[in-house]
């Protein structure tokens, strides 16, 4: 084979190609950052929602549930749970509050987290905020 195939050219393509696509990715990130205000429902980001996100995180809800499709696949999607529960934060609060501490025999059960009323309201507000993010019409239906 008289084909020329040099290591230095392979290396140049690796460095040049990587740099090229990093720059492209950064350009798209820049555009995304500018477009997000129209989609990410940031107007609804109150202190309560921020607290709700913290409650969400500090109880590792993502360890069982998905949120906008990401997380664990053990329990239902919660990105649209506010809508699924009839556009009601009270229903969300009631559900979390009502989990039996010892679980439901033989079934997958959500733990009883003993959240305060403030925390319960906050996490419900967070889920309401999440449900109003423009997710390009995902999930396909109300079941999540």
């Amino acid at each position: 084979m008289s084909e020329v195939f040099t290591k230095s050219m392979a290396r140049n393509i690796y460095y040049g190609g990587s740099l090229f696509f990093i720059l492209l990715f950064l350009a798209l990130t820049f555009d995304t950052d500018g477009t997000l205000p129209k989609r990410d429902n940031r107007a609804a980001l109150t202190e309560q929602v921020a607290l709700g996100k913290k409650v969400w995180e500090e109880n590792d809800c993502i360890g069982c549930h998905t949120l906008l499709g990401e997380g664990a696949y053990f329990a239902p999607e919660l990105g649209n749970v506010y809508k699924r529960f009839g556009n009601s934060t009270a229903a969300i609060v009631g559900f979390i509050k009502g989990r039996p501490p010892e679980g439901i025999p033989g079934r997958r059960s959500m733990p009883q987290f003993n959240l305060s009323d403030e925390e319960l309201e906050a996490v419900a507000a967070f889920l309401k905020y999440a449900s109003e993010i423009d997710t390009a019409n995902w999930p396909p239906n109300i079941q999540g």
Binding site: A10, E58, C61, I62, G63, G103, F113
Partner: protein, 464 residues
């Protein structure tokens, strides 16, 4: 072993295998909880078991990567490690911090752990795969910096081979991108957007550089093919990885509130992501076919080829299955994702670490290759683990297809929990396959303690 300091790799490999066993045990617990909902409830709820399962995976792979680096960097650089003492110190720091974190998950409610570790000061916990307390994350950064310092000085002060430089780039990228774990804005969309800079750009970016360089190193050693040939293919493969994988991040930006053009950018580039994996498969088989020596360590060759094939299937094919936006619209966040995740992680990263351990461990223990009986057992464990992982993937794929149909696609979609009950049979089958995987893993561990058969050295007449 050409350099004495390579020996620091040994504790890293042992710890990696130990944590691997733990990971699989918790995987079996979770698998059982899928069908026996209140198993260990409320002592070990599912989210805790999952956290332990996934965090142990990450930690033991990192142990594996670090061990691999400590083994191969001195040999490639043709000099001793800059500081073996630092390597051992960081080993204990990382192991103890890791063990404390896992114990924290298991013994304290997660919210209590958050309080205990001062998550209020810099909230980073409670996001998938990044559940570690902030203080653990800071520890990871410190260990990573110390490790990079040690490896970096060794590489820069010695022979700079392509394998070394690619490995160093990969490890540096790993450390740098981890810093995005500390960015946790209240804005959920931004949170998720940059969360993927850790998760995706790790596993479909810089980790593949680490994978490629380890595979190249082992292939150079076991095939005796000219380094020049292997190195230029390494460059081409990782170039393709980054060319497709960086914009490929877009396949995570379809439905999380990000602009809709990501559906096009993400689909187009991630559809190309199987190409580097395919090239890797062709490359590995080509090198083995063109081998200029018969290495006595048959098991290591098997692992190397297995990595190439399974990474292509798991990361390439199973990734492609649901990467196009119109498909992903229905499969996003279902068992299809779980199926892909299992085979991709096993095929690409578990197997490359086991490849390296398989190659290096006998040498670290004073033999070029293990005894024949030990190797036979190791190959049995290879097949048991690999085949059961294929079945785990197939069962989860079956579960996912049914789930998508019942819950997302049919004209009368049913609720999540109702769908889960209808696909329980797949979860049972998955659990059985998981038990077989554990048996394979036990055999793997046992293979380290088996002696006898023809001493492997005898067949290595042409080793130089």
């Amino acid at each position: 072993m050409q350099y004495r300091s390579q020996a620091v790799a040994k504790p890293y490999f042992i710890a990696a295998i130990g944590l691997f066993v733990g990971q699989i045990l918790f995987g079996l617990v979770m698998g059982l909880q899928y069908v026996w909902g209140d198993f260990l409830f409320p002592e070990i709820p599912f989210n805790v078991a999952r956290m332990v399962h996934t965090n142990l995976l990450i930690v033991w792979l990192l142990f594996g990567f670090m061990g691999a680096a400590y083994y191969l960097v001195p040999e490639e650089s043709e000099r001793e490690l800059h500081s073996p003492g630092l390597a051992i110190l960081l080993f204990w720091v990382f192991l103890i911090a890791g063990a404390l974190t896992i114990l924290g998950y298991l013994l304290v409610p997660y919210a209590g752990l958050a309080k205990l570790t001062g998550n209020d000061l810099l909230p980073t916990m409670g996001r998938e795969f990044l559940e570690q307390p902030t203080i653990t994350k800071i520890g990871i950064v410190i260990v990573a910096l110390g490790f990079l310092y040690n490896i970096g000085l060794t590489i820069l002060g010695g022979r700079k081979t392509v394998v070394n430089l690619v490995l160093l780039t990969g490890l540096t990228g790993l450390a740098l991108l981890f810093l995005f774990a500390f960015y946790n804005p209240d804005n959920l969309v931004k949170d998720k957007f940059y969360w993927w800079w850790v998760v995706h750009l790790w596993v479909e970016g810089v980790w593949e550089l680490i994978l490629g360089s380890i595979l190249a190193f082992v292939l150079i050693k076991v095939t005796g093919v000219d380094r020049e040939v292997i190195e230029k293919w390494l460059y081409v493969i990782i170039a393709m990885t980054l060319i497709t994988g960086i914009i490929g991040t877009g396949h995570h930006y379809y439905w999380i509130g990000t602009p809709e053009y990501w559906q096009w950018w993400g689909s187009i580039f991630s559809a190309m992501e199987p190409i580097p994996f395919f090239m890797m498969t062709v490359f590995a088989f080509n090198m083995v076919n063109r081998r200029r020596r018969e290495h006595p360590n048959k098991a290591a060759v098997l692992w190397a080829l297995g990595t190439a094939v399974m990474a292509f299937l798991g990361a390439g094919v199973w990734g492609f299955l649901h990467t196009l936006a119109p498909v992903n619209y229905y499969t996003h966040g279902t068992q299809i994702t779980a199926a892909h995740g299992h085979m991709a992680f096993y095929g690409a990263y578990v197997m490359i670490v086991l490849t390296m351990i398989s190659y290096a461990m006998p040498i670290l223990r004073g033999q070029e290759a293990s005894d024949e009986r030990s190797q036979v057992l190791e190959m049995w464990s290879f097949w048991l683990m690999t085949v059961s992982m294929v079945f785990i993937t197939l069962f989860l794929t079956g579960a996912g297809i049914l789930q998508v149909w019942l819950q997302r696609y049919s004209t009368d979609p049913i609720p999540f929990m109702a769908a889960q009950e209808k696909i329980a049979i797949f979860y049972w089958l998955r659990e059985i396959a998981g038990v077989v995987f554990l048996i394979g893993l036990v055999l793997y561990v046992v293979s380290f303690f088996v002696k006898g058969g023809r001493p492997a050295m005898a067949s290595a007449a042409d080793t130089a």
